[in-house]
């Protein structure tokens, strides 16, 4: 288990849980669901925010927000 911000761009993972309740409901609204496949598409030029691919579209979030998403890498 690791967190979303630890993924390398292109690396695929499965969302397992969230460590911040207030953020989790927003993340679920935006299609970040437990069990969903997720990957980082690219980083903004200064390393933050991230552009992630989830639920068939692109979402941007900051590092602090990505840290609350617990993921399991597929290997």
């Amino acid at each position: 288990m690791t967190t979303l911000n630890e993924l390398k761009p292109g690396e695929k993972a499965i969302i397992r849980s969230f460590s911040n309740e207030a953020l989790s409901s927003k993340l679920i609204d935006m299609g970040c669901l437990p069990g969903e496949l997720v990957s980082i598409s690219r980083l903004a030029p200064l390393g933050c925010p991230y552009m992630i691919h989830v639920s068939g579209y692109e979402l941007s979030l900051r590092k602090a927000e990505a840290m609350t998403v617990v993921v399991e890498t597929l290997s």
């Binding site: 207030a22 953020l23 927003k26 679920i28 609204d29 598409s41 579209y57 979402l59 927000e65």
Partner: protein, 676 residues
Amino acid sequence: MSDLSLNTHLKIALVGNPNAGKSTLFNALTGLNQKTGNYSGVTVDRYEGKSAFNSGLHHFEFSILDLPGLYSLYPKSNDEVIACQTLLDEREKIDVVVIVVDATNLKRHLMLATQLIDLKIKTVLALNMIDEANKQNIIIDVAGLSDTLGVPIAAVDSRHSSGVDQLKELITEAKISDALFYDLQSEVIKDKGSYKAYIQSSLQQTSAQAFENTDKIYRFNIINYLLAKYVKSPAQLSQKEMSSKIDAFATHKIFGYVLLLFILFLVFQFIFFISESPMNWIEQFFLQAGNYVHAAMPAGQLNDLIVNGLIAGIGGVVMFVPQIAFLFMFIGFLEDSGYMARASFIMDRIMRPFGLNGSSVIPLISATACAVPSIMATRSIKNVKERLITIFILPLISCSARLPVYTLLISVLYPNNTFLGIFNSKGLVLLAFYLIGFVISLLTAFVLKKLVKTNEHSFFIMELPVYRKPQLKTIGILVYNKVKVFISEAGKIILAISIVLWFLSSHGYSKEYKELDQQVAAVQSSDVVTNKEHIIKHLESLKLEHSYIGKLGHFIEPAIAPLGFDWKIGIALITSFAAREVFVGTMATIYQSSDADKEEGIKEKLRNELDVYGNKKYNTAVCWSLLLFYAFALQCMSTIAVVKRETNGWKWVFAQLLFLSVLAYGSAFLAQQVLS
């Protein structure tokens, strides 16, 4: 036969995720038959429109409300709260809810759809962007999906207005669905009696409810099943691949910023230079119209009111239209294409420390031309706090109305236009003032970030929509709406203040004023006076001194004396509240500068003006004090009017006015003390 029980006047609400193409559908349904207002107490625009439909013998009238974008019935932002509250407000008397979903993003968009269906209200589903779905080879079993949801579905391509008539037809037949999508075993909902009752009670809660996530995940599981059954989509979507290729460039370390810089350069060119000609035409038009009316009407008070108060005031409002139109042309293009979210993405890390948003860069750049359209442009900033901070600091950016003031004062300061012998002083001082404005605005933003508290979470969880070709119609309607709102709302305040200013500067209560008035009339009608123009100029200057504004100038003199300003400057400070550049014109009137070369004339007069001790009046201290005062003071009624409209209240206007006045006074005072 006409059915008497049939309701042919229907109130429709469009509800859907942001980026579902809701506004485009709204435009397709209503055309220009729409009006923009404000939800009470908040800074969210309310869009309403009208549409009609003939079905058989019946003629239907729809009044359509375009609700703010919504991800779920558990709102996270102010926009979402307003959308939920309005939707559930009995007083709105909504007959039918049109659920707008993006056919290429069904999974997320159907979540809200299932929630809306569970409210047990009449619903119709608009399967929007069906053309894109077809192009991507996404095959949707519309009949099957419609059966399972219990909701009629119209496949719509609102960008090309196709399927809109079918949607209207379905609206007239809308029913309440029999399907339920919440967990029937859930104790939480059983307790409340219905899903609607549960949502209504959860809207009263401020903190997130534990049941919220359970409910949404339950729905997503059903949706996954529905999608597997009714939707076939290829593994790789070509539209998304294309977007990804553009992003490789648009968010690139170097090219990303080069592209943004180029866009900002274009915005700057249009707002600063290309707007100039249409603005001149407008100015000329109202000048001519004024002259025409002046000649056509009998002379007197009414003539003066109409020509110098009303026509000049309306001209001052219409003057802003080219800049607003050009700026929103760009903003419409950037938002409709999907680029705005990318600008926000690559600028976030840079703007964040100052409490600003990546989308703040466009208002900040266009504010170098004028704060008024820029403040309107902050609508692109979704976060309330970041938007308010941006609005607050925009008047600090050096705008084009300050240029004539700066130019005049700098040339009084440095007559031979050199600084330390080698530099061009005008260029240097202007550069310094652009930098001062920019630095102070960022510092202010930084402090405000710590001070301002909002109840909204500061997320940066933002959708990056796929790139789409911007639609001219969408941009056109945006520009039209913005211009209309400016003229009808901010314009009223601007016109009112300009008429007050006109009255105060052209009327007086004293005996001297009335005598001067008679003298002017006498000189004008006289055949024997040879030096008419010169005498009238002298009398006009005296009249201004004895007018209400002249008295006000004298009245405030003690307050501005510590800044090195006398009552003459006091008069110019008051009149230039109409617009900063009016300072130059008023000084020209006060010092009776010749009309032939106003600018040069007034410079000479100011340079040669002596104080009571025989020293130069406009010395270094006074000039710098004035320069700093104009750099910071909120000397602009149009900015005030537009901030009032955009923040939907006077609270922020007064806070901003107070802060900028203290800053202006303080820095001018300091300059006066240090330099004299």
